[in-house]
């Protein structure tokens, strides 16, 4: 299992008001990748290119060893795709869809599908148009999960799901990768979920990949230092500082994406007292990163 599950190499795509530039990243087999970024950053476009639904202007995409979009029909036998925008046929029932998918894919697991029906609290006989948004999403997830595909590509799978449903879905995703031949790429605004189950995090903003690395080292590089300064002290300008917030008077909070113990010492040597060195949640990192880059544009 050495070949990556998917590979983007220098992918570019231009639209009138948006450009995806030099997108390159890779997902190793058996891993979960969390794909995050602000609205309009290019997540959905990237995923569509991944699925062969959009032809890039430049660059190469390989999924499960197949070139996309040319070999997409072959690749999609092993890919389970779900998007928050996707809809099933309104006038058909969930049961019809289950039979439809089961007839196409030889890997359909009817027993597992029945289990998921119960866990997601869905009914076979219900017509899709009479379902709530959350039920519709769960139905699509059921169809995708019951096939046990080698690669799951999920574009905002948690949107519209209540906390119980989200938990069930997370649970199913995690049990999928107990099989190390299976991989998952999912995009989500729920940074908590991404932080919890991702092995790798890929961060996109304004059509560019800001970051694509393993979660632990990514989270490890970020810290917030709470400093106490004697009045009138100017903080030294140090590399890797993303933001400095003055909390009035003598307190300051410094956000860094390149933390080393030497950084804390540098501040101490400059005369500031380091009261606390805090780890940051993915949500805090996300906000700091995006706000930081937006300030640069304005400045």
């Amino acid at each position: 299992m050495n070949a990556p599950a998917l590979q983007f190499d220098g992918v570019e795509k231009s639209y009138p008001y948006f450009k995806l530039a030099n997108v390159s990243f890779e997902l190793a087999t058996g891993q979960i990748m969390g794909f995050i970024g602000p609205n309009g950053a290019g997540k959905s476009t990237t995923i569509r290119i991944l699925m062969g639904m959009v032809l890039p202007d430049r660059g190469a995409v390989r999924v499960l060893g197949h070139s996309m979009p040319q070999e997409q029909a072959l690749a999609k036998w092993d890919i389970g795709f779900m998007s928050e925008e996707m809809r099933l046929y309104g006038y058909a029932t969930l049961g019809w869809h289950m039979d439809f998918v089961a007839a196409i894919y030889p890997t359909w697991d009817a027993r597992y599908a029945a289990t998921l029906l119960k866990r997601f609290d869905l009914r076979r006989e219900q017509k899709m148009k009479s379902m709530s948004h959350g039920q519709h999403m769960k139905s699509i997830l059921l169809l995708v999960l019951a096939r046990r595909p080698r690669l799951l590509v999920l574009d905002e799978p948690m949107t519209g799901l209540d906390p119980v449903a989200r938990h069930e879905v997370l649970s199913e995703l995690m049990s999928a990768v107990t099989d190390e031949t299976r991989s998952i790429l999912f995009s989500s605004h729920h940074t908590q979920d991404v932080e919890q189950i991702s092995d790798q995090i890929t961060f996109i903003d304004r059509g560019r990949i800001i970051e694509s690395s393993d979660k632990e080292s990514f989270l490890d590089r970020w810290r917030r230092l709470q400093l106490e300064l004697p009045t009138g002290l100017q903080l030294p300008v140090l590399p890797g500082i993303v933001d400095v917030k003055s909390a009035g008077g003598r307190l300051a909070a410094v956000t860094t994406n390149a933390f080393t113990p030497a950084l804390a010492s540098a501040y101490q040597e400059a005369g500031a007292c380091v009261r606390e060195i805090q780890h940051m949640s993915l949500e805090e990192i996300f906000v700091a990163e995006v706000m930081g880059s937006r300030k640069e544009i304005v400045a």
Partner: protein, 222 residues
């Protein structure tokens, strides 16, 4: 393996358009029944035949092709192991079959009526040119729904479908060799009729070719 998904989609669309296919056949049959019963009978017959010969087909395109794209059920279909081109071809084929099967049945019924059942065949040239015209209108509409993403073009298509029949009829009726002999017992097939039919067949073929060409050149499908 690609082919089985292709046919699953075709079969699914055909099954769900069953009602529309039936409607086409029923309207056409009733239309034939009204034919030849005086002026009002002919009028009603014409309306029913035109409706039955076109409306269901337009609905099929609007619901199963255009509607599905708008509703994003297309994303579901594209997640299946099929290329977007073959998917578009499957949708096109299903819509075409849903239209052409009843169209052929009704055309055959008319032919049988005119030749074997001694229905006065004066109206045959008009029927033939009209029937092929409906096919052309359908093909154009199918092309628009398969190939374009533009709401404007779709609306223009609907408008065209609704407003083109009357002018066509008007023109045909005023061509002496076609329109003047409608009440006759035997048909008078003239060059006007054959030319018109020839043009109509060519239009259908050109539309097909153009549609197939555009489908094969699709770059962004969602």
């Amino acid at each position: 393996m690609n082919r089985s998904v292709f046919w699953c989609i075709v079969r699914r669309d055909l099954r769900f358009s069953g009602i529309l296919i039936a409607a086409s056949l029923i309207l056409g049959a009733v239309g034939f029944a009204f034919g030849g019963h005086g002026k009002i009978g002919s009028f009603v017959s014409t309306i029913l035949l035109i409706t039955g010969g076109l409306a269901p087909g337009i609905f099929v395109c609007s619901i199963f092709i255009w509607g599905e794209r708008k509703e994003k059920s297309r994303l579901f279909a594209l997640s299946l192991p099929i290329s977007p081109t073959r998917y578009a071809l499957a949708k096109g084929l299903a819509a075409l079959l849903a239209y052409v099967v009843p169209w052929t049945v009704l055309a055959a019924t008319a032919i049988v009526g005119y030749t074997l059942l001694s229905v006065p065949s004066g109206s045959a040239p008009l029927f033939a040119t009209m029937w092929l015209f409906l096919l052309d209108v359908f093909c154009l509409f199918l092309c628009i729904t398969l190939v374009s993403d533009s709401d404007g073009l779709f609306t223009a298509g609907i408008v065209f479908v609704n407003t083109s029949i009357a002018p066509f009829f008007f023109v045909m009726q005023n061509i002496p060799s076609i329109g003047s002999h409608v009440a006759d017992a035997t048909a008078s097939w003239g060059p006007a009729a054959f030319t018109t039919m020839g043009v109509e067949v060519v239009v259908a073929l050109v539309t097909f070719t153009f549609t197939a060409y555009r489908i094969s050149r699709m770059r962004d499908l969602v």
